[in-house]
C-alpha cells in the first residue's frame, strides 16, 4: 500500500472511531434526561469491549483466510504473525475494520433505550459481535455473498441492515417502554452527534476504498451529496406533512442518507448519490411511522433509519452501479446497461443477512431473558436508568 493510502486508512480509522461517540450523543439527546448517561454508556461500552474481541478472534474469524465461504478460522488469533514488516498496511486495516465492528452493535442501543439492563447489554454486545456481526461480515467480504457479485462498499448490508433488523428482534423480546415515547431532552446534543457522525462517515465510506485514490474521492463526494439530499428531503416532507421543518428531521434525514449511500459509495457517480439520498430521506421519513402501525417500540427509530435506509441504498445499487466510471470489474446497474442480475444479488445478500441476524439476535435476547433478565424493574424504569444502572446523574440542578 502506498504511503498516502496507508495514511488515509489510519486517518479513516480515527474518523470511524469518532462516530461511536457521535452516535452516543445523537441517541443521547433524543433520549430522556434521566436515561441519557445509560445511552452514552451503552455506546461507549462498545468501543471498550469490541476492539478487544476483534483483535482476539473477530478479525481472524471474519477475514482469515479471506476466501472462506462462511467463516474464517483462528489463524490470526490476537493478530498472530501480523507485524509491521512490509508497510504495516494489514495492521492499519485491522484497526480500521475494528472500528466498524465496534459501532455496529452500538446502533442497536437506540432501539432498546430506557429499559434494558446494562448487565444484559454488556453480555449482548460481545456475544452478538461474534455470533452475528462476524459471520455476516465474512459472507459479504470475501465470503459466499461477495463471491456471488453482490456489492457492499462500506457496510450497508453488513452493518446497517444487519444491526437494523437485529434491533427489531431485540425490541420484540424486550417489550415496550412503560412510559411510552417522550420528546427529545436535548436537541443540541442530537445536532452535535449528527455533525460528528457526518464528519466520521467520510472515513467510514471513503476510507473503505482502502486507498487514497479516485474511488475514495468519489465515495467522499457521494457521502457528501447523499447526506445533504436526504436531509433536505426529510425536512421538506415533514414541513409539508407535519407543519414545521425540524432539527430532528434534518438530523434524521442526514443519517438516513449516510446509511443509504454506505453500500453504494464506491459504485455510483454523477447525480446517483442525490437520487439515493432523496429516496432515503423520503422513504425513511415515512418508515419511522411503521413502528406504531406494527406495535413494536423501537425507541429511537433504528429500524426506520438504519434497516430501511440500508435496504434502500443497497437495492438502488442494482440501478445505479456504474463500473465504467470507476474502471471497475463489478456489474452494471439497470440504468447503466445491466440487467436485473445485480439487483437480485443485492436482494439475496440482504435477505440472507436479515434471516441470520434476526434469528440469532432473537435467540441471544431470549437466552439473556431466561437467565439474567433483560429488563430493569418497573420502579427503576420510572426513576431512570442513569441512577439504577450507573449510579450517576446527568444534570445536577443545584451543584
Amino acid at each position: 500500500m502506498d504511503s498516502g493510502s496507508l495514511a488515509w486508512v489510519l486517518v479513516s480509522a480515527a474518523l470511524v472511531l469518532f462516530m461511536t461517540p457521535g452516535l452516543a450523543f445523537f441517541y443521547g439527546g433524543m433520549d430522556r434526561s434521566r436515561n441519557v448517561l445509560n445511552m452514552l454508556m451503552m455506546n461507549f461500552y462498545c468501543v471498550l469491549i469490541v476492539p478487544i474481541v476483534w483483535v482476539a478472534v473477530g478479525y481472524s474469524l471474519s477475514q482469515v483466510p479471506f476466501e472462506n465461504d462462511f467463516i474464517g478460522g483462528f489463524d490470526s488469533f490476537f493478530l498472530k504473525d501480523i507485524t509491521v514488516a512490509g508497510d504495516g498496511s494489514t495492521l492499519a486495516i485491522v484497526a480500521f475494520l475494528g472500528m466498524f465492528a465496534a459501532i455496529t452493535p452500538a446502533l442497536i442501543s437506540g432501539a432498546v433505550a430506557d429499559r434494558m439492563k446494562f448487565s444484559a447489554w454488556a453480555i449482548f454486545v460481545p456475544v452478538w459481535s461474534l455470533l452475528v456481526y462476524v459471520p455476516v461480515f465474512k459472507w459479504v467480504y470475501g465470503g459466499w455473498l461477495g463471491q456471488r457479485g453482490s456489492l457492499d462498499f462500506a457496510g450497508g448490508t453488513a452493518i446497517h441492515v444487519n444491526a437494523g433488523i437485529a434491533a427489531l428482534a431485540a425490541v420484540m423480546v424486550l417489550g415496550k417502554r412503560k412510559g411510552g415515547a417522550q420528546p427529545p431532552h436535548s436537541m443540541p446534543l442530537v445536532m452535535i452527534g449528527t455533525g460528528i457522525l457526518w464528519f466520521g462517515w467520510f472515513g467510514f465510506n471513503a476510507g473503505s476504498a482502502l486507498a487514497a485514490n479516485g474511488q475514495a474521492a468519489q465515495a467522499f463526494m457521494n457521502t457528501f451529496l447523499a447526506a445533504a439530499a436526504a436531509g433536505l428531503a426529510w425536512v421538506i416532507v415533514e414541513w409539508l406533512r407535519d407543519g414545521h421543518p425540524t432539527n430532528l428531521g434534518a438530523a434524521s434525514g442526514i443519517v438516513a442518507g449516510l446509511v443509504a449511500i454506505t453500500p453504494a459509495a464506491g459504485y455510483v457517480s454523477g447525480p446517483a448519490p442525490i437520487f439515493i439520498g432523496l429516496a432515503a430521506g423520503v422513504v425513511c421519513c415515512y418508515a419511522v411511522r411503521l413502528k406504531s402501525k406494527f406495535g413494536y417500540d423501537d425507541a429511537l427509530d433504528v429500524v426506520g433509519v438504519h434497516f430501511v435506509g440500508g435496504i434502500v441504498g443497497s437495492l438502488l445499487i442494482g440501478f445505479f452501479a456504474n463500473p465504467s466510471f470507476f474502471e471497475g470489474s463489478f456489474d452494471e446497474g439497470i440504468f447503466y446497461g445491466g440487467g436485473a442480475g445485480l439487483l437480485l444479488e443485492q436482494a439475496l445478500a440482504n435477505g440472507a443477512a436479515i434471516v441470520w441476524s434476526f434469528v440469532l439476535t432473537f435467540a441471544i435476547m431470549v437466552a439473556l431473558k431466561k437467565t439474567i433478565g433483560v429488563r430493569v424493574s418497573e420502579e427503576e424504569e420510572s426513576t431512570g436508568l442513569d441512577l439504577s444502572e450507573h449510579g450517576e446523574t446527568a444534570y445536577r440542578g443545584l451543584a
Binding site: P183, E238, G243, H244, S252
Partner: protein, 112 residues
Amino acid sequence: MKLITAIVKPFKLDDVKDALKAAGVQGITVSEVRGFGRQGGHSETYRGAEYKIDFVPKVRLELVVDDSAVDGVVNAIKAAASTGKIGDGKIWVTGIDRIVRIRTGEEGSDAI
C-alpha cells in the same frame, strides 16, 4: 408581614424586578416553574409523532413585605408583568408568622 407570591411569564422577570426595585423592595427570590391556568399548552412533533406539552414555563417570585407595603408592591408587579395576553399569571398574598435574618438574628420587620 405578608408573603407575596407571583407567577409571571419568564420574559417579564426583568421588568418586574426593575419595578420592584423602584418600589423600594430590597430582596426577592426567583424560581423556574411550569404550570398552566387558562393558557393551554402547545404541541411539538418529532419524527411524525405529536406530543402535547401541557405545562408552560413560568417564573415564580417570592418576597416578604410589611403589611403597609402590600398594595403598592402588588400593583407594581401587576403593571410590570402584564401583557394583556392569556397566561400573564397570578399574584397571591399570604400571611407569615415569623421571619429571621440568618446573619444577624434580627426578626420581624427588621428582617425584611
